[in-house]
């Protein structure tokens, strides 16, 4: 894994736009609601994320931080 992302579970609104644009399918819906009642998304750490930051570019709520090697 060349990169990873951190998703703020409390600020995510679960619009799933990042899931649609992730080229490696490394993001999936969480199974736990957050305090605002949204179903956020979570990062699959066993995927092959390259740290391309496409998810962060499209995220409407700026909840994603991207790390790369």
């Amino acid at each position: 894994m060349k990169g990873y992302i951190e998703i703020d579970q409390e600020l995510c609104k679960g619009c799933q736009i990042c899931m649609a644009f992730c080229p490696k399918d490394s993001i999936s819906p969480s199974d736990k609601l957050n305090a605002n009642g949204y179903l956020p998304v979570r990062f699959n750490s066993d995927g092959d994320c390259t740290g391309c930051a496409t998810c962060a570019v499209v995220c409407p709520d700026v909840v994603i931080e991207v790390y790369r090697e």
């Binding site: 990873y4 600020l11 736009i17 949204y38 740290g51 570019v57 995220c59 409407p60 700026v62 991207v66």
Partner: protein, 257 residues
């Protein structure tokens, strides 16, 4: 591993009140990224609009002065003339800039005011509950056009950018969208160029941004992003509409025409 993408410095750490999938917060982020990259955070004065983004000052960490409906360009004119060194931008929706503020916008552009307008076009009145806007597409259903917009009764969608491009004082006009990674990057470049035109003291600049409104279009976020691509761009083609920043002398003495 090093951090390659973080929250922009000029964007306050507050939770956005926008609906999931809304384009407003993306545009807020792009604006703050441009402020950070150009290092102009302390020079910028913003004019937030009425509408969903009325609380833009909760998110953008720059000076802001709220304006009444449609008066953004007029308030910006006053601020720019009082503070010539400030970089003044208006953030306006289609009900604001294209309906009640048409006169202010066109005349501010015609006077060549050194201001930048960020025009958010989502083809509908968002905050008030999804009524028809001047930019609503033909046959599009809204709460006030439940059978679709009938152009014989309600007229045609207004292409504001093309109208403003006709006046001499406007130097940079581009239409972009925030519905894909590529378009979001293009939007950021356009915002940067618009502010550069103002820094170079050339004239009025406007960036029209097609923005998804999932709630009032009654779609899920991804469908609304695709709808911008498939339907809205037919009526509002993306691309550069006017750019005379190169021809125009920075002193403003030589007219581009």
């Amino acid at each position: 591993m090093k951090k390659v993408y973080r929250r922009p410095k000029s964007l306050k750490r507050a939770a956005f009140h926008y609906c999931p999938g809304c384009g407003h917060s993306i545009i807020h982020r792009l604006l703050t990224e441009v402020f950070d990259e150009m290092n102009i955070q302390d020079r910028v004065i913003g004019i937030p609009p009425p509408g969903c983004s009325v609380f833009a000052y909760h998110y953008l960490d720059v000076d802001m002065a709220e304006s009444a409906h449609g008066r953004g360009a007029a308030v910006a004119t006053g601020l720019k003339r009082a503070y010539p060194d400030a970089l003044v931008f208006t953030y306006q929706g289609d009900g604001d800039l294209a309906a009640i503020g048409t006169a202010e916008t066109i005349h501010a552009a015609n006077r060549g005011e050194r201001i930048t307008s960020i025009f958010i076009n989502n083809a509908v009145y968002g905050m008030t509950g999804g009524q028809m806007a001047p930019t609503t597409l033909s046959n599009m259903k809204t709460t006030t056009t439940p059978y679709g917009r009938d152009t014989r009764l309600e007229g045609y969608p207004v292409r504001m950018s093309e109208m403003v491009a006709l006046v001499k004082g406007a130097v940079y006009i581009e239409r972009t969208a925030v519905n894909s990674p590529a378009n979001i990057r293009k939007t950021k470049k356009a915002i940067r160029k618009a502010f550069q035109a103002q820094i170079d003291d050339l004239g009025y600049s406007l960036v029209e941004i097609l923005s998804p409104c999932p709630t009032n279009w009654k779609m899920n976020p991804l469908e609304s992003w695709q709808w911008v691509e498939n339907e809205m761009t037919k009526e509002f083609p993306l691309g550069l509409i006017k750019d005379i920043t190169r021809e125009k002398d920075s002193t403003g003495k030589r007219d581009a025409d």
